[in-house]
């Protein structure tokens, strides 16, 4: 374990005052309004926690809530599932960015990104992550990606760092990820390793999420159902801060928060023997689930 220095009481007080001033001014403070760790709140130690509000997800972690200020890893089985993987991380980033000031550093290799495309600002904005706060760093090699990530987690104006990698690159071995973890925990930002189509590789990251999309609608005969909210099947394959587990999550755009999926019900009422509606003509809207 990394020795966490005992915080200076004066500095804690100062941080508290700063966040109160920031709250009065309507802005975000750098220390943020993250939930303090209840177990270690007494002695003021331990990382801050991110509460998603979904008990099934928060409960997987030791003191309920995903730890911030450390290194997480998210993978998808295939690179064509890059949309779901990006969505899950964008949702976490949106939660983080709503609670803390600072920019989001997004590091990727454009050549590797050609497979899964480039992050789209309007899509990120829809998740509640202001694209103006995103810095996109395009690197040429994996070594540069790791270096940029290290620089990012140590800078004070950054609240989260995302690095996209393809597969399991040789440069990211156990030593490199351990080094990255130490740097992240010494800095203040939360780091995510996004691995498209990544096989299981040794890693020092605190967690490993394996993300798959969660089907929302279903086809009823020849009639196409509308899309529901974005959802994921999140398999927490490794968790050094709790237990592994599987959970299904959805994202609520209106509330900008995670939600547990509602029970499966037919979204579109069955039409029985009647003729199918003229699908595909006119504007098709998503129906309300409730």
């Amino acid at each position: 374990m990394v020795a966490v220095p005992r915080p200076d009481p004066d500095r804690t007080l100062l941080a508290e005052l700063r966040s109160r001033v920031a709250a009065l001014e309507g802005g975000l403070s750098s220390e943020g309004r993250l939930m303090p760790d209840p177990a270690s709140a007494a002695n003021g130690q331990g990382p801050a926690r991110l509460l998603t509000g979904v008990a099934g997800f928060d409960g997987l972690f030791a003191s309920s809530g995903m730890p911030c200020g450390t290194l997480h890893e998210a993978t998808s089985a295939e690179s064509r599932s890059g949309g779901a993987l990006t969505g899950f991380v964008a949702a976490l980033l949106a939660c983080l960015a709503a609670r803390r000031a600072g920019a989001v550093l997004w590091v990727m290799e454009p050549e590797a990104g050609r497979e899964a495309g480039c992050p789209n600002a309007e899509g990120l904005a829809r998740f509640g992550l202001d694209p103006a706060r995103v810095l996109l760093v395009r690197t040429r090699r994996v070594e540069e990606t790791l270096w940029a990530m290290e620089e990012g987690v140590q800078a004070s104006g950054i609240c989260a760092v995302v690095a996209e990698l393809r597969g399991a690159p040789r440069a990211l071995d156990l030593t490199a990820s351990r080094r990255l973890l130490l740097r992240t925990e010494a800095g203040g930002a939360t780091a995510f390793l996004l691995r498209h189509g990544g096989e299981s590789a040794p890693s020092a990251a605190v967690t490993r999420f394996r993300i798959a999309a969660r089907p929302s609608g279903g086809r009823d005969g020849l009639r196409l159902a509308p899309l529901g909210r974005p959802g994921w099947q999140v398999a927490l394959q490794r968790n050094r801060d709790g237990r592994p587990g599987t959970v299904e999550l959805e994202w609520d755009h209106a509330m900008r928060s995670f939600a547990a999926p509602a029970d499966r019900e037919p979204v579109v009422p069955r039409t029985g023997d009647g003729p199918a509606g003229a699908s595909g003509t006119g504007r098709v809207m998503a129906f309300s689930r409730r």
Binding site: G83, N120, L136, E151, A213, R219, L222, G280, R289
Partner: protein
Amino acid sequence: MPRVVVAARRGADRIVALNAPARALGVTADEPLADARARHPALQSDAQAAGEVAALLAALADWCDRYTPLVALDGEDGLLLDITGCAHLFAHDESAAPAGEERLPAGEHALMRDCLRRLGDQGFAVRAGVADTPAAAWAYARHALARDVLSGEPSCGGLPPGAWREVLAPLPMAALRLEDATLDALGRVGLTQVADVIDRPRGPLAARFGRDLVRRIERLRGDAAEPISPRLAAPLLAADRRFFEPISREEDVRGVILGLAERLSLDLERRGEGGRAFELALFRVDGVVNRVTVGTSRALRDPARVRGLFSEKLAALGDDFDAGFGFDLVRLCVLEVQRFEPAQADFAQTGEHAEALEALIDRLGARLGIARVARFLPCDTHLPEIRQKLVPAAVVDTGALVWCSQTPVAPDTPQLRPLRLIDPPEPVEAVAMVPEGPPLRFRWRRALYEVRACEGPERLVPPWWQEPRPAPARDYYRVEDGEGRRFWLYREGLYGVDSAPQGPPPRWFLQGLYA
């Protein structure tokens, strides 16, 4: 070994350069190679590579930057250095002036000696002249000094202030740098020396031989200014350090940068400015000059940060950082400045964090390249592929990055735009139930996807008011396959409108991935 360099000129391979043994044989420049070979079969010849001489001269001009920032090329084989105000810096380099040059100021003499010694060490044979005006220096170096530079010592000399007349007057008329036609015309009337025209009334000369002659005379006398066009723009501020023993280790260079940046920061502070672009020039002992430039996103004068940026740049060079036998001069210049007011720290530390972020942008930009650290700039268009533009974070005004992400979203508003954009859109084979309907299944990257849920169409028409006529309209669909993956597909072209009955049918493309 007699050796010559030849180039094709006036219909023959002619000698353009030759070494001392060749000269001793009686070979002369501008002689056809065939004639010289006929007399001396052992003559070795090399063809002149195009552009190589010019590149060498340019490199030499860059090297001369160590004496003055104003270095201009003079024809194919000369350099013009404006040493006004620079010479006194070399005055401490006291060495005994040979007879005949004692009247030259000590600094100018020392500068010239130093330059010639270093060029001689590099293997160049040089003539050099110092004078009040560029024209006088040119005439002196090219016509008054010994012509044969290949034998022995480099020939050099200086005209002390105001002493040009007695030295230059007896020179041939060519020292005025006139065109051949004017020279011929002057020669026909018996004016062959500079002295013949230098003090004549200008009016008749201009009427008979043209304005050019008068202009040359005025420039030689110093009555008219002669602008020189320096190869490189003079930096706004510069600090340099010379080494008796060359340094070659990267750590040493970094230490020197810190010292130089400290000196520059004092100058910048006095001007109330900070640097936006810095240049580091490393003068290698063998005459190669390495230049490294970094830009910053805000005015900067903190020496440690300047050094940090150059450290990243040098680290990015990696193996290309070739110190050779070492650097004997390191110079740090400020190329661009901006007003820099000291800012007051606020309690919430917002300023500090903004500054830390800019420092990070600079550091990343120095190592990876400025354009590779980007921000999303919104563009006023409805076409998704050009809706966002990646602009360098170091130069963009953050006030322009308005994305309206804080507008509240009504529940169950469809998620219109994808999270990832595939650029360019990839063609897919899609099957729809009815021609203008949504896709039922499609094949993308050789995999088949069965559509289970779908929203759309959303029709986007490229700007039809522009010429030439743009691409046809697109109908976008948001689709989900059986495993929950979501894609953004569009059909390009409308049935019966864009395509003639026999023409190619509309095509399908995949442009984005949803969560």
